[in-house]
Amino acid sequence: MSIELTHEEILRYSRHLLIPEVGLEGQEKLKASSVLVIGTGGLGSPVALYLAAAGIGRIGLVDYDVVDASNLQRQVIHGTARVGTLKVESARERMLDLNPDIQVDTYNEPFTSENAMRIAAEYDVLVDGTDNFPTRYLTNDVCVFLGKPNVYGSIFRFDGQASVFYAREGPCYRCLFPEPPPPGLVPSCAEGGVLGVLPGTIGTIQATEAVKLLLGIGSPLIGQLLLYNALDMEFEFVKLKKNPNCRVCGPNPDITEPIDYEQFCGVPGHDGDEGSAGADWDITAPELAKRLKHDHLKLLDVREPHELAISNLPGEVNIPLGTLAARLSELDSAEEMVVFCKAGTRSTRALELLVSAGFKKVKNLKGGINAWARDVDPNLPVY
């Protein structure tokens, strides 16, 4: 690809060329540069769209997921007609429609310790638009090993965080978070939800930072963490410093190549057996339906109260997971009980809590009330 802009490109990027900080030279710089976007979901959508529009010459997309109807509330790069198709292909098509002059490389595979260094080595900047801790730590470590900036963003409900972790000039993600939270403490967006516009705000900030880094202009978010709250419309910043004991970017690192991140985080980074507490503890929705015809089983719903308006089971008892530990006295350990939530993740945590408190006659509804809606009662919606 020639770095010199064609007449068509000069017209396309004229609003950039008018800014002295970008100009012709800057736009040619963007054309010669490359960005790897990890994840083409909520954050990846605006990142990929704006980087494509800005004329980044080569953009890589890593994702192995397919577009789901429940993605479209926030993953604006995809469309209704693309439900069921590969996210990287859906995104690529939209990006090339927006800007046919760029190159979009697709990696329809999980980002893992085996392929991450090879894939990332080809790009100038990485953008972390992932949805899980193992991939976040992997992305960070790979950026430290390769000396590349990691444009970070993460979201939950109304809260967002953004930063640039660039170990050559400041702290890395591990300097701030040496270890991930214990599994189950921090709810995922599937359990806790996320405002659809929120990844738009944070992803757009990530795209901004990527463009600034590539152009070498302004003050990037290196050594600063942006905390955004959409509900109160608050943007706040805190200062981050390099941790002298950091295991990857400190002076005496003991992690010098990608490790087993799923083991490190205690959770699968990629599709595990979601919604299952293990064969000994699970009961499937059809099995439960059969048992309920003859036996009395207590149905313990550990979702938040407002979720009951979406779907519920007759006779259920609702104790949200967050309050369960304090309300164990309301439950009778002699009674047979089936614990459920939306899809089985929170109920697995609840089951662990109950078992550790001495409850023995407890089961987890595998796949949650959504599995019940799919396999037993189609009158209930899946959400």
């Binding site: 954050l43 992932t130 976040r136 809260d159 939270p181 967006c189 599937a190 905390l227 410093k241 949200p320």
Partner: protein, 93 residues
């Protein structure tokens, strides 16, 4: 009295409260007061040896208390402490 801002994911354990007034001459004392008011937070914030877990960051104003005097950082009545947890986003666990 100093105030501690509670991030959304941890509000499960503070009955939804976004801010908690906490009493204490230093950060350590104030955090003990927080856990006294909301015992469900304890297991999430502290490890078995009674130390703050590594994924929990406490900021006083814009500074990490690790860059100040740690748990012995003195607190003034008008101070705002902030808990910054790691959030992963997304739809998997």
């Amino acid at each position: 009295m100093p105030v501690l801002k509670i991030p959304t994911p941890l509000r499960y354990y503070t009955e939804g409260q976004a801010e908690v007034s906490i009493e204490g001459a230093d950060v350590g004392a104030a955090m003990r007061d927080l856990v006294r008011q909301h015992p469900a937070l304890e297991q999430h914030l502290y490890n078995g040896s009674g130390e703050l877990r590594a994924f929990v960051n406490l900021f006083l104003g814009e500074h990490n208390i690790k860059d100040l005097q740690g748990m012995e950082t003195p607190l003034q009545a008008e101070d705002t402490l902030r808990l910054i947890p790691s959030i992963a986003g997304g739809h998997r666990r």
